[in-house]
Amino acid sequence: MKAAKKIFETALAEGRTFILENEAKDIMKGYGIGVPAYDTAKSADEAVTKARKIGYPVVLKILSKDILHKSDAGGVKVNLKDDSEVRKAFQEIMESARKYGSEKGIQVDLSRGVLISDFADQGTEVIIGVTRDPQFGHALMFGLGGIFVEVLKDVTFRLIPMTESDAREMVGEIKAAKILDGVRGQPPRDVDALVNVIMSISKMVKENPEIIELDCNPTFVYDKGKGALVVDARILIEGTKPKESSAH
């Protein structure tokens, strides 16, 4: 996809190897992956206008070439229900970002403002990720989110590119697979939509091998027939110079 290449070029020109969230979501949309409605805003007024257009409640997230881990910089505010909450959140995010910068001794670039996104309804949380292994190359990881991935490490891998039956096997072979069938009276989840997201990520990485790491975390999977949404997307690409290490 040409748009993706352009985004990667811009990032590298700015000296960053991570892709801003709005850019990541542009790329995802280009591959037919569902994401919550989003837009960007450079001022509090613009944020309010955009928020109204998307519809409340919304989420605000910092967009800066200097901030990879947005929460660490106080750059994420969720479940904002009206204009005044958005206005307040915008100011707070900018202040925290400045403070984060001065603590680190850097001038944080704030010119891009924030991402405004629809505060998506809670679905079954899953993680879809990509890593590039030195021996095997690109591999895709799938697992249920939250404690399943954090504590139980209940995840499964396939090399990219993969077939649809690989994707279906992955979804079926994690230990907690039954949760997607619907347990305790819940209807079954939209596994077809989930498989589509996995296949689209596989295609995206196949076509853009400069991606070295990718997280769709969380991705929400809804009731059968209601789809799936990548709520937070992170993409890291290969730098032209040796990659600087960054901690969580």
């Binding site: 890593t131 021996q135 995840v155 891998f157 090399l159 993969m162 690989d166 969580h248």
Partner: protein, 483 residues
């Protein structure tokens, strides 16, 4: 031939079928590497010609010895190099001038020792490329071919047994480790497992895992391909994966990979990068490519023997037939733990069993034909079970300590196996008599194991490979059906 994958099989045949072999660095010193290798080629089973190369001697162990290859009056197909690393660039000029296309470099002192050794290795490889010489090694024990008796292992046979080929089916092993290659040669010679080739690759300066995988995939004397690896060089995991995908549908490939420890990437910036360990990715790659991973060598050879001798299963339903109840229960436990399906016979089949077996037999799964049986009850169970088509694979307990069971049971088992085309594995548990009986069973083509657990691992591999071979045609029992 050059395959699109970047696999290069040109010249590999010479390593196994060399009719004229020269040992560069042949030595008159007892217990030296240069003597031990030469010794392998003066055994009567090797029917090709052998020459020694060493300016110090005119003959070694009665073999004519020349100062260089040029003086050898006849053609040479392969050279085994056992000289110090620093001499190898010159030796390869000699090899090239003679027009030899294959060389096994046994010597160490190359890239495994650091930059100076790596420079010598590069020089050697450049010379080899210039002349189109394929290299196995350096820093390896080389190859054993049990049919042509090409044998570059410098381990004397009285210390390290050599396996034999079997008339039924044969396994080939590629090992990153020379020590393991030798130990497996010795071990399989004791076990009597049929082996076609053992290859130790050492530094892999030219011939690598992928070349051999492709070559062995087309080798008619290899029925199952086994690998031992400690990991892959940069991007070589991916090329192995790509090559394996072209082989596993026609021939089973098994791997033992060490280094299972989880090593999260220190520099990972994403969640996925922090969780993913290389071994998990290797595990996924094997599964995706249809490579069966074994936990250890014992499991690998239990599996390989079954896969070499039996057809893969077309479904996962296994019937255990036994003349000992305890063995039946233990084996069923092991089968279930491996995720195989062990369904009870349908009421119709149960009635058929009842009509043909004494009332004190048990006809669930396991079917217990009990301790006073002779071969006829096995006959009846196989007959009915195969007619019913309720099972895809059979594990047969054959406890020959009982006086009533004759050796004719081996005939019954192998006849039903052959007629049905379904896989059978046998458990013959006990001492000297039963071990001999197991050997006879294997001569008749049915793999036999000393415990139910080992037989279950073997049955598991036949089912696993069935999934790989038959894909969507394979009949998988769903979790709900298993209950």
């Amino acid at each position: 031939m050059t395959v699109s994958l970047g696999v290069e099989t040109e010249g590999i045949d010479f390593f196994f079928n060399a009719k004229g072999v020269a040992v560069y660095g042949a030595s008159a010193t007892p217990n030296s590497v240069g003597q031990a290798i030469l010794q392998n080629f003066i055994k009567p089973q090797y029917t090709g010609r052998v020459y020694a190369v060493n300016p110090k001697y005119t003959t070694v162990l009665g073999v004519p010895c020349y100062p260089s290859l040029k003086e050898i009056p006849n053609p040479v197909d392969m050279v085994i190099v056992a000289v110090p690393a620093r001499l190898t660039p010159r030796v390869f000029e000699d090899i090239g001038s003679k027009g030899v296309k294959a060389a096994i470099v046994i010597s160490g002192g190359f890239s495994e020792t650091g930059p100076a050794g790596a420079a010598i290795e590069d020089e050697m490889v450049a010379t080899a490329k210039k002349y189109g010489i394929r290299i196995i090694g350096p820093n390896c024990v080389g190859v054993i071919d049990t049919q042509t008796h090409v044998d570059s292992f410098f381990l004397p046979e009285y210390r390290c047994g050599r396996p034999k080929s079997s008339a039924v089916a044969n396994i080939s092993l590629v090992s990153q480790s020379g020590a393991f290659a030798a130990a497996i040669s010795d071990w399989t010679s004791q076990l009597g497992i049929g082996i076609s080739k053992i290859i130790s690759l050492g530094n892999k300066c030219d011939v690598d895992d992928d070349d051999l995988l492709y070559y062995l995939g087309d080798d008619p004397s290899t029925q199952v391909i086994c690998y031992y690896t400690e990991g892959y060089d940069r991007e070589k995991g991916r090329t192995f994966f790509d090559t394996a995908r072209t082989v596993t549908a026609r021939k089973p490939v098994l791997v033992v990979k060490s280094g299972k420890g989880r090593r999260a990437r220190a520099a990972a910036s994403s969640h996925t990068g922090a969780i993913a360990g290389s071994d998990q990715i290797a595990d996924a790659a094997y599964r995706q490519a249809g490579v069966i991973r074994a936990d250890n060598f014992e499991h690998m050879f239990d599996m390989a023997k079954a896969l070499a001798m039996q057809p893969p299963a077309k479904g996962d339903r296994v019937l255990m037939v036994t003349n000992g109840g305890g063995l039946g229960v233990m084996t069923i436990d092991a089968l279930e733990a491996l995720g195989l399906s062990v369904p009870k016979p349908s009421p119709e089949l149960e009635n058929r069993f009842k009509s043909r077996l004494p009332a004190y037999c048990a006809w669930h799964n396991p079917v217990d034909v009990v301790g006073d049986t002779d071969a006829s009850r096995y006959d009846a169970v196989f007959d009915e079970a195969l007619k019913s088509d309720e099972y895809d694979a059979f594990v047969v307990g054959m406890l020959l300590q009982t006086p009533s069971l004759g050796m004719d049971v081996t005939n019954v088992i192998s006849n039903y196996q052959r007629q049905s085309g379904k896989p059978f594995v046998v458990v013959s548990m006990g001492g000297a008599f039963t071990t001999k009986a197991g050997e006879i069973m294997e001569l008749m083509g049915t793999p036999t194991y000393a415990t139910g657990e080992k037989a279950a691992v073997a049955a598991g591999a036949l089912v696993e490979y069935g999934k790989i071979r038959y894909g969507k045609e394979f009949k998988q029992t769903s979790e709900t059906e298993k209950r």
